[in-house]
């Protein structure tokens, strides 16, 4: 590997040329009268965003299916989602009331906190054992004791509605894609877009179509959370043992029986993984959903931070983490349970067969009754709640007052030594040259198909007048990904080779993944001021998770025989790591890099709230101005950057696997 191949020489030369162009290109091109190659001329911009906005207005105001208009159709869907949602919300959080506002009278109270606790504990016991029951119970007790109960129940109500819709929709789409390969080909790019277009970009059209309020928030959540379910369903059905399929055919199954009686049950274990993904992604959406009317914990985070109540925001954020952990553990337990099914003993009465349901039902009824006399049974008393808010406020204040100069020095070091040079580099490349390079990279790794796709996508970004913002996006995201990898990959390797460190790192990254990024955005602003560095810190905190996870997974899954072979041939520990573990984990690490890029891009929209000048800001401005076209065009530009990066990395990961003999070249 030490010899430089002619191919790498060409790439090195091209990079040097790009650097020269980025540094001196502007002067040369202007001297040659080719200024248009440096800055995309305004006159060439295709007014796509105006067309999209106009199409949206037509859709909402005029489009009709004959019997009913498009708006009536979407509002009908909205109404259908609203009914079960209102029911869930009434049962869990608000009770049934008559009248509105101050004159409202509560007819039936919601489930008491004791009854909900009993319910989740019973679920935990049913799904696995008393230990799980205790964990889930403790999580819900935390919500009550820290005064987050009511908001948490509002959030839970939206999860309870969004998840079944996402799972059912994902299952149906996945089955259809499995049955009709042509449908799968159409669906795949749509799924890519659903996962890469920032949610902010399509919030405005959703608000137009589904009206203001929690339903729009639910629809946005489902769009965001469904794609993994679709992918996992198709994958799981393809993976069903052919012998099981043959058995189904031999016993004369109809198509419908084949799907629902044979394929889906056999794929059940994988499908539950999909359900778990839908749940976690729905909880990720909690904050954004609360911006358009979902309420609950997300709204608490937002309004606390608006008042610079850092502690309050942190507590509500931790409550989201706790809720996510509880639901995650429960759903994983159900996943494992699914494979060890024991038929219930026959002949017993319903009560004997369902002891937990009976107990929970009894607690529910009793707590209703007692709650009428003792309100503490119905609603956890405010007086008994705890708060750690002051602790967090003072912590940030202490850091700010005592360590500000140190933070400032670190910040300046990174800004001047790393961020600003990279920024100048990306903004200096003439767009014509950049598109040519992206196309060439596509050609090398993926042949003419990838080259053409890269050309079209990069061309779209230039043609819609987004080039400069896109380059700032690439710069901000690129530097963050580099730093996230530099921090994350060694941590991942450490977690894999040292078990105790692995446990600590595991808890840390689980928390980082589910803690809403808003919670740490404001303290980061306080310590580093508004600017690119602050945005980068926030992006790194969020995007470091997959870098750690995939590196750890890659190093752990190196086959023990190869390690043994290394030990036998006398490798030192260091050699084992650098010669065997790391090279073999490379494909996994590259996949982790891929995910890091995806998360960094999705975080850009959030960092626009700090004040950046990239595509994320464009999406955010479009949201506040309710400009459908502008938001979607910028959203597509972000999605295309993500897809280009994804395809290139996937292709190079594949060639790495081929090189190390983990996959055949034509497989």
């Amino acid at each position: 590997m030490a010899r430089v191949s002619p191919k790498s020489m060409i790439w090195l030369g091209l990079f040097a040329l790009t650097w020269l162009l980025a540094t001196f290109g502007q002067g040369w091109l202007e001297a040659a009268g080719m200024g248009w190659a440096m800055q995309y001329p305004d006159a060439w911009v295709i007014p796509l965003k105006d067309s999209i906005s106009a199409a949206m207005i037509w859709l909402v105001e005029e489009a009709s299916f004959g019997l009913f208009t498009f708006t009536e159709f979407t509002r009908g869907i909205s109404w259908m989602i609203e009914q079960p949602y209102n029911l869930a919300r009434a049962l869990l959080a608000e009770g049934f009331v008559e009248g509105h506002g101050r004159r409202a009278v509560q007819l039936v109270p919601p489930f008491s906190w004791i009854a909900v606790m009993a319910g989740v504990v019973a679920l935990g016991h049913y799904a696995r054992d008393w230990l799980l029951a205790a964990i889930v119970g403790a999580a819900f007790l935390y919500l009550a004791v820290f005064g987050q109960w009511e908001s948490a129940m509002v959030t839970l109500a939206s999860v309870v509605i969004a998840v079944p819709i996402g799972v059912a929709g994902g299952l149906l789409l996945g089955i259809t894609a499995y049955r009709h390969p042509s449908f799968e080909r159409i669906l795949k790019p749509i799924l890519d877009l659903m996962q890469t277009i920032p949610i902010f970009a399509y919030l405005v059209p959703i608000l137009f179509m589904f009206g203001f309020g929690p339903v729009s928030a639910l629809v946005a959540t489902v769009i965001y959370a469904m794609p993994p379910m679709v992918r996992i369903t198709t994958m799981a059905l393809h993976a069903v043992d052919p012998e099981i399929k043959d058995f189904g055919v031999m016993s004369g199954c109809t198509r419908r029986q084949m799907t629902w009686r044979v394929l889906v049950p056999s794929a059940r274990a994988s499908l539950v993984v999909g359900v778990n993904q839908v749940i976690m992604l729905s909880l990720n959406m909690v904050i954004i959903a609360s911006m358009i009317g979902a309420g609950g914990l997300g709204f608490d985070v937002l309004s606390a931070l608006r008042r610079l109540n850092i502690g309050g925001g942190f507590e509500a954020g931790i409550a989201i983490v706790i809720l996510a952990v509880a639901i995650d553990r429960l759903s994983q337990a159900f996943a494992q349970r699914a494979t060890t099914f024991t038929p219930p003993p026959k002949g017993d009465t319903w009560i004997k067969r369902h002891p937990r349901s009976v107990i929970v039902l009894a607690i529910l009824l009793v707590s209703y009754g007692v709650g009428l006399i003792l309100p503490a049974v119905q609603t956890y008393p405010d007086a008994a709640t705890l708060t750690t808010g002051k602790f967090w406020d003072n912590g940030v204040k202490y850091l700010n007052i005592n360590f500000y100069d140190q933070f400032e020095a670190v910040k300046l070091f990174f800004l001047q030594g790393f961020l600003l040079p990279v920024k100048r580099f990306f903004l200096g490349i003439p767009w014509v040259w950049a598109i040519a390079m992206v196309t060439a990279i596509g050609w090398t790794f993926g042949g003419w198909k990838l080259a053409l796709m890269n050309l079209l996508m990069a061309g779209f970004i230039a043609a819609t007048g987004m080039w400069e913002k896109a380059m700032i996006t690439v710069y901000l995201c690129g530097t963050s990904v580099v730093i996230a990898s530099v921090i994350g990959i060694p941590l991942g390797v450490l977690a894999a080779v040292n078990e105790r460190a692995g446990r600590i790192i595991g808890v840390l990254i689980d928390t980082l993944q589910t803690l809403p990024s808003f919670v740490y955005l404001i303290p980061v602003v306080m310590l580093f001021r508004i600017g690119d560095f602050t945005a980068m810190v926030a992006i790194v905190l969020y995007a470091v998770v997959p870098a750690v996870r995939y590196a750890a997974h890659g190093v752990r899954s190196v086959s023990p025989e190869l390690i043994e072979a290394g030990v036998v041939s006398g490798c030192t520990k260091r050699q084992l790591l650098s010669r065997i573990r790391l090279p073999l984990a490379l494909p996994e690490i590259l996949l982790g890099l891929n995910q890091t890029i995806m998360l960094a891009l999705s975080m850009l929209v959030i960092t626009a709230l700090v004040g950046t000048r990239d595509l994320g800001q464009e999406v955010y401005i479009a949201l506040t101005k309710a400009d459908t076209g502008r938001g979607l065009v910028a959203g597509f530009a972000i999605a295309f950057i993500a897809i280009i990066a994804d395809r290139i990395i996937t292709a190079s990961a594949r060639s790495a696997r081929v090189r190390y003999g983990l996959e055949s070249a034509n497989g």
Binding site: E82, Q83, Y85, N86, L87, R89, A90, A93, E94, G95, F96, V97, E98, G99, H100, G101, R102, R103, A104, Q106, V154, V204, L207, F208, G211, F212, G213, P214, M291, I292, G293, G295, L302, S303, R306, R307, L308, N400, Y404, E408, L415, L521, I522, V525, M526, L527, R529, I530, G531, T607, A608, V610, G611, T612, Y620, I621, L623, T624, K625, A626
Partner: protein, 316 residues
């Protein structure tokens, strides 16, 4: 009572399940939908309006909505009433919506918005001559940070707020760099951070807001705004450039769906009559954001203390 209020505020949608109370005296028992945003002043303002409408017998629902995006909802009638459209930040959106004929400007809330450059009082020692804007010319470097030095650093609002600060800096010959915060929260996080360290800071502050109550400081006094200043370069201290003056001040408007007048004429009259003052609002915002009281408690206290006033709006 308070308890029940809180519950219903959080999800008025539950009403869809139970028959709404029959009210003989109002034109329609359908709920009026009032929009809630994410700053306390607006929540207080809206919930006082809602409480008064309820006292008059109307049904009220609160809907969480974005400040500018709500215009789309007001046009279709999804939303009925928005209580705070600031002339300083929302005028353009409001004018555009009113021009479609689907949204009506119901008049002033009585609150006056002030938006201007603002500095904490301790900066007066380092830059004598403040609040006069000319002092900023001499001591811009006092407001510098390593990234902007030797220029001063001014933290402006989100780009969507407009404000013409780059133009102002240029026209008045101020040696400042304008840095835009992405949101209100980021803007005041800068202030909180600097204030804790007694570090230099100058930024965009607006009232009614809790910040002037929490931090001691003053607005910079620029040449007062006139429409000519923004449109006519020859006006003002700089004969060649526009924007050589302060930011406009203006009322906070109430905006309603145009169909409200016909569906709930009585409610429409009450909304027209409703006014608060800056002093009342600042005090209430302070109680919520600084003393940690709940919005509901503050609204209830106002309703108890001002019964004759709101009765007057109802029985006019």
């Amino acid at each position: 009572m308070r308890h029940i209020l809180k519950r219903t505020l959080m999800g008025a949608a539950v009403g869809a399940f139970v028959a709404t109370a029959s009210l003989a005296e109002v034109e329609s028992a359908d709920p009026l939908k009032l929009t809630l945003h994410d700053w306390s002043g607006q929540l207080i303002n809206t919930q006082i309006m809602g409480a008064v409408l309820e006292e008059a017998g109307y049904n009220v629902e609160y809907v969480q909505a974005d400040y500018i995006a709500q215009c789309a909802g007001l046009k279709t009638g999804d939303l009925t009433l928005a209580m705070e459209i600031w002339a300083t930040t929302g005028q353009e959106a409001l004018d555009e919506a009113v021009a479609t004929g689907k949204v009506e400007n119901v008049g002033e809330t009585g609150l006056q918005a002030i938006e201007e450059w603002w500095y904490p009082l301790y900066m007066k020692e380092r830059c004598p001559g403040l609040p006069d804007w000319k002092a900023l010319k001499a001591c811009a470097s006092e407001f510098a940070t390593p990234e902007t030095a030797p220029k001063g650093r001014y933290v402006g609002g989100p780009v969507t707020w407009g404000g013409f600060d780059e133009e102002r800096v240029d026209a008045l010959g101020l040696d400042f760099e304008v840095v835009h915060a992405g949101t209100d929260a980021a803007l005041f996080a800068e202030l909180e951070s600097a204030y804790q360290r007694q570090a230099p800071v100058i930024l965009w502050v607006y009232v009614p807001h809790w910040a002037p109550a929490k931090y001691e400081g003053e607005f910079v006094e620029f040449p007062p705004y006139t429409p000519e200043c923004y449109s006519d370069p020859s006006w003002g201290v700089n004969p060649d450039k526009a924007y050589d003056c302060g930011k406009p001040r203006g009322p906070i408007w109430k905006a309603a769906w145009a169909g409200m007048k016909d569906k709930w004429p009585g409610a429409h009259k009450i909304v027209q009559a409703y006014t608060l003052t800056n002093e009342e609002m600042s005090a209430m915002v302070g109680e919520v954001d600084l003393d940690g009281k709940s919005v509901e408690d503050v609204v209830n206290a106002w309703m108890d203390a001002n019964e004759s006033r709101w009765q007057g709006w109802i029985t006019q």
